[in-house]
Symmetry: D2
Subunit: 346 residues, 4 copies
């Protein structure tokens, strides 16, 4: 039987090329078309030497496929996807264009009027740990942002179970590849190396996603979330440290409370193939190149606060790997197919 | 006139060797004695090739000096310093042994009974921005920890002016040299490179310093501080991001409030030679190799929170540079002597 | 049918743990036993969180297996392996203990008298590109060193075809993981980061391997090889730049000569699954986490010299991946089984 | 007495901003004018926060100064400098435009016809260790390239004394800042991090400088030099490893020869304030941020080759620091003024 044909729109960015790497090794689908404007006409394996074994040529337009991934920048992605949806194609969108349910958020956060607000309701937010069943039957999946993936997974069990109050601080540290392959002084080697800095102090675009999804978990709460991203000198990885006050009386004191918390998290994620609740502080290195998310919930007993920490590879679970996980669900494949690779350590 | 003779106890760690670098270039004092147990007998400039121009030999015991720096580990440092104080020597202690005012904190946080609790009252906490006058007449100065330096400077204006409530989160990101020169798997290159992780989730030893000093700024408040340090893959630098609720009505809304806040910080530090309140998010790289602390206070208008960020070089303002700043004050020298070096960028 | 059971002696070093990662994902064999002295009794997936999915416990002694990998340090490895060979087990030795054919080389280069010189003739040097057929029927395979793998593959076609004279300079740049997981000031993060240095100027232990194997390719030549390794601040990867005078008249002038050279290399490696002769200067990053070796031969027309450059991942093609490649050959499996992973870029 | 006024043309690149850092701290000259096209009108200390203490504004055109540094790219630099020379100004040119004595080299290596060939004879190659006296009386000094500085200093004693034959291999490893501040995929963080690669295999532009200067040291020789530069993942530093056959009979065998060689190098550089002949393999880290060059000459006894290794900071001794050293000589100041800073380690 012929394999499902899949394609990547804009293979030349980091999310796109990471998708290509994973899909080239996927046993159940065949990557048959990749596009990229500036590089059109070049052989993919010449453009990206680590993909030498593929024989694809980068095309200006997507060829005939059964499912498409869009790795276009936001605003442009929606325009590429709209005709594909009309044609009945399944689509996984790596951009932010279909993540937010409220069309009014787009002018505010992304500076454009959404061209297809009717699709926002149709699109499913592609975090399988929260929306698996809907993803299975979705035509359009909005792959979550890298920061939201780490932040939501770190906090979801606590929010869902009502363990924490509404004052939440999310402090994330990201590797530089999260800023993409487009040239920029911020990501120029000599500027980013041996440097750490916060950015987007006025409000990062990933904040509304985080708020939207955490609220869905506990509709009664009116969350007050501060989210500050940081750039740290490494290529891959996001470590998210989230802080929130524990609601009194929900969790025992001392060691016992720590165990209860760990068990609550373990229970929440017990059937999740890619979430590991770990017993000590997680390292981004332990997820490098893999689709795993490592989470550790801890208690600051002095102040009665939850400290929930997650580690992911921003290009895998934070982008391309999760997109393939969504594709697997949409195609009725085993969710882990093509994503079993363990992290490359050290 | 003969220069003041100064010595370093334990020159072979990173704080010690950084002290040697600065003191070798100091125009008003002369480094005449350096000690180090394992390396005793070796020429300092052979042991550390960047110090080639000095002719000192590492000794087992401190020679005759007018002022001594101790860069010994905690617990051992107190024992080295006690006889020096008895002899009437001026001492700057880089360790934690005289930073905490309450002797009971030592068994709790450092696992030893303090051998000279009477000296805790005598010792001055060596953060010149808060205790300059006392430092000038001190015999024993307890040089602050690297994290407390960044955290206290970031929050001091806001706490002092009563701008913020008591729920404070301090999330710090440190370069690896902060963990010292002793070998450890955590700081093994292949483990620390391309990795970010939080540590000391149960409570870091620098927390009581931070609490002690911030409380002194506003005695009415009972602060509830969570402090979580992180290791990021760079050699030098600490970025501290502090979060706290703004007290209603103290600061205007919108842009106007941001300006008021910036001005309040600028005013607080207006006479400080080494603190620069900057107009955008600070980078550790801009302080690399220098004694400067860059601070930027921002407002999260959505949640009404202060976000105060500071950047320092952990080995300079966070250790050896601040120790020399304290020495300058103790000796009646111009505070900036020997510390004028600008950051080395990029 | 039961899978072949394989075991790893000393799983706790970087070669050992990388073997575990690859073998855990190998479809045709089962990793059933791993040993490690200091960590005996711990669960492998606790000790190395990226291996969480395995359920192995680190043992003090190797259990019953069909084939064993030894990742012990040299000298100790021979002693572990001797009884296994006596028992008739297949063994791949990652150490240097069976690489050199002349027992007299061991006291000179490794400072010990070889305990089983009779096994040196029996052992096969495990570079499949040169010794594939012998490896297939070997009981004991000596896995090449990381530097020799890159250096020999870069030079083999030129030596074999008599293209170059005997004056060869090999300048290698290695990532820090090549120095192992044992703690050492040289590989302490703050020392190795932002540093490049040469080492082993008096002669590196990998030199005799390189000489032995290149001589075998052209028995008439008496090679004069200088090999200098360098440590560069990255975790994985070896770039080898080899220089040698081109023999006059063997290769055309100008562009034509470059094409001839490229074709000669391509022809030499045309059936090799893991060697890619590339058309431009290779990057270690393009082999990161994979078993591929990228090679580019160039000509310095001004001086008539060959410049042959190779890039590998020192822990995969330079150690664990090549060991599994050898195992596949010994077991009659498809050579690429379990090693198909593409490099993880960026 | 008024200080000498100096200016920097194009302060916004890495060589320019490093010049600004050093000149701001120079006790005998005053930096009074800095230019930069794209950034004209901005305050220097806003553009580069580590220079906050200066009050200069970046100008479109150079103001009135006594001596000018040009940090313009090649070809453009000559055009900026020609009118300054006509006006009688002293100039230090950081670009390559006046380094080569033969005007015919410019079309070949730099792709332009030199606009002022008559100035090539007038210009002095600004390597003080070789041309100090001429620099003192020069009006126009051509500051050497970063690679040539390291390579020439490593080989000069051996070439001058006729110790080595003419077959020379120079393998250099440079930090990424050497590629400048202009954006480029090669120097994009995620591409350059965790990567090592050779470049300019067809001939790097610094080769003719190296050849020109080494030939001047031994006019009888017809050198056959291969020079291959590499990019390694660090911000600053160049390590150069040079290989050449030792002429028979010039140096003793064994340990004695090593001592003779070391002494010959030490003697050659005995009056040099910034060259340190060191007894073991040099590390770039030990020169970080300083104007020092560390050199170690070694012998490969097996092959009778010299291995000469040098380490510099490419932006200091390899660019801005050496430019200031040249300025000091031109102005009759103590050569080391403003350049005494020790390397910042670790």
């Amino acid at each position: 039987m012929a394999k499902t044909r899949v394609g990547i729109i804009n293979v030349t960015g980091y999310a796109g090329v990471e998708l290509a790497r994973i899909l080239c090794q996927h046993p159940e689908v065949q990557l048959t078309s990749v596009t990229g404007r500036s590089a059109a006409g070049q052989v993919l394996g010449d453009y990206f030497p680590h993909l030498k074994s593929t024989e694809l040529t980068i095309e200006p337009e997507l060829g005939e496929v059964d499912l498409a991934f869009s790795a276009m920048p936001h605003k442009e992605s929606a325009r590429e996807i709209m005709p594909l949806i009309d044609k009945g194609l399944n689509v996984v969108d790596i951009s932010a264009d279909f993540r937010l349910k409220d069309a009014a958020d787009y002018p505010q956060w992304y500076d454009f009027t959404h061209p297809a607000p009717e699709l926002l309701a149709k699109a499913v937010f592609g975090l399988p740990e929260l929306h698996r069943e809907k993803i299975k039957s979705a035509q359009l999946v909005a792959n979550p942002g890298c920061y939201p993936t780490g932040a939501i997974l770190a906090l979801a069990p606590a929010v869902k179970e009502g363990l924490i109050g509404t004052d939440i601080i999310i402090d994330s540290k990201s590797g530089v590849s999260g800023a993409g392959r487009s040239l920029n002084l911020t990501t120029h080697y000599s500027e980013a190396n041996e440097d750490t800095a916060a950015y987007a102090l006025g409000g990062h675009r990933h904040l509304p996603e985080i708020v939207q999804e955490l609220k869905l978990l506990n509709l009664e709460s009116s969350l007050s979330i501060t989210f500050i991203p940081h750039l740290v000198p490494m290529t891959r990885g996001i470590l998210t440290t989230a802080y929130a006050p524990l609601v009194t009386g929900k969790i025992a004191d001392g060691k016992k409370g720590e165990e209860e918390l760990l068990n609550l998290y373990r229970d929440f994620y017990k059937d999740e193939p890619f979430v590991r609740v770990v017993a000590s502080s997680p390292h981004t290195k332990h997820t490098w190149g893999s689709n795993y998310c490592h989470i550790h919930p801890a208690i600051d007993h002095r102040t009665g606060r939850l400290i929930a920490i997650s580690a992911i590879d921003n290009l895998v679970k934070g982008a391309a790997g999760q997109a393939v996980q969504n594709m697997n669900l949409m195609l009725g494949l085993l969710e882990t197919t093509g994503l079993e690779a363990l992290a490359v350590y050290p």
